[in-house]
Amino acid sequence: MSGFFNSSIGRKYAMALSAFFLIIFLIIHLSVNLTSVFSKDVFNEFSHFMGTNPLIQFAMQPVLIFGVVFHFVMGFILELKNRSARAVKYVKNTGSANSTWMSRNMLLSGGVVLAFLVLHFIDFWIPEMNVKYLQGDMSGLLSDGEGYRYYEELVHKFESPLRVGAYVIAFVLLALHLLHGFTSAFQSIGATMGRRKTVQNIGKAYSILIPLGFIVVALFHHFNH
């Protein structure tokens, strides 16, 4: 089987499997985010559970980080290999005549999403790790001890129009990435046979609705507080 994952198609499988994992992760992440629009308490409860449950913290979180890093590194390696397959470029190449902009610019859209993830880590993940594991405060409470801190932190982050702007741009690029990537992942594992249109339609719905959900949450908190 190791030979399989060294083959060109095997690598596409690996790329698709990490994509599926990230596609499911986005649904879970958005579900939690959306609760913040409806109920401060439900959002706090979910956040506390996600932030302190050992299974999520020590099993799912490392897998997720590995998934993101793997998806990017593998994508980058494949891109380099693909570029080397054409040493001399065409003088004139009309790519728009036969393929979408999204399909030709996955490295660009993925790169923007990755840059956003760096910001996201600085905003949320590193402070979380600091409070929980360096300072040892696993309570999830505000400094005055009056209730959980998660909702307040979320609202605070979305005060800055600059951050919200960056957030919106990143999710538009994520939508473009998914508009090609979703169907592409299914195609790579051979699951589109006989149902390509269906997969494409589900992909379109997912690629627009999920990023839109994240954008709505950000704008909601920006304009409501």
């Binding site: 089987m1 030979g3 399989f4 083959s7 060109s8 198609i9 095997g10 690598r11 596409k12 499988y13 494949l78 290999k81 693909n82 570029r83 080397s84 397959a85 054409r86 040493a87 001399v88 470029k89 065409y90 003088v91 004139k92 190449n93 009309t94 790519g95 005549a97 036969n98 393929s99 979408t100 399909s103 030709r104 996955m106 090609h180 169907t183 592409s184 195609q187 790579s188 594992i189 051979g190 699951a191 589109t192 046979m193 006989g194 390509r196």
Partner: protein, 249 residues
Amino acid sequence: MKLTLKIWRQKDAKAKGKMVAYQLDDVSPDMSFLEMLDVLNQDLIDKDEEPIAFDHDCREGICGMCSMFINGRAHGPDREITVCQLHMRSFKDGDTITIEPWRAKAFPIIKDLIVDRSSFDRIQQAGGFISVNTSGNTQDANNIPISKYAADTAMDAATCIGCGACVASCKNSSAMLFVGAKVSQYALLPQGRVEAVDRVKNMVAQMDLEGFGNCTNTGACEVECPKGISLENIARMNRELVKANLIKF
């Protein structure tokens, strides 16, 4: 029609090539693209210049020799055609047309617009066949029932003429539409199932060895394929390779 042609000229495999501009003043819109090149070559011969080397054979859309990238697209504008099926009426008076050979590391240029596609032959030789004795004792084809769906889909895959437009159009120079079609035409039929495991493994291994890029599912190959080979064949090949590895690992 008056046309300006910018054509890739390269003396031999090792020489450094460049685009050279030519003028043609009296092109009929009824000419095929290859006839237009014939006229240009006759002009060049009359002027004692080296004619442009380009591949062509059947001139009826089935040989797939015409490895020309015209105005940024394999076989030029229009869908599901080869260059001999492209006519000058697809262009306008005064147009500038760029003509380049297929560009891929696995398709090295031999001269001008002629490329070496023997990498496709080697992929085919790695497994694109069934080992069957055809020395006069073959059984009646109708002894093995084959569904209409399988017969039609296998035939669709088998219409691939190995022209390489898929590789030329692909931003990654991937050969997966070609290999997918060749794997599929056998995978769909009972006669092909016997050697299916080794076939897909060996053909994909050879494809990787030849230095083609990896498919990123842009779909450019399907749009430019003169025979309308579907992306579904790539999905089938991907599936066949996993099946083959699960059976023997």
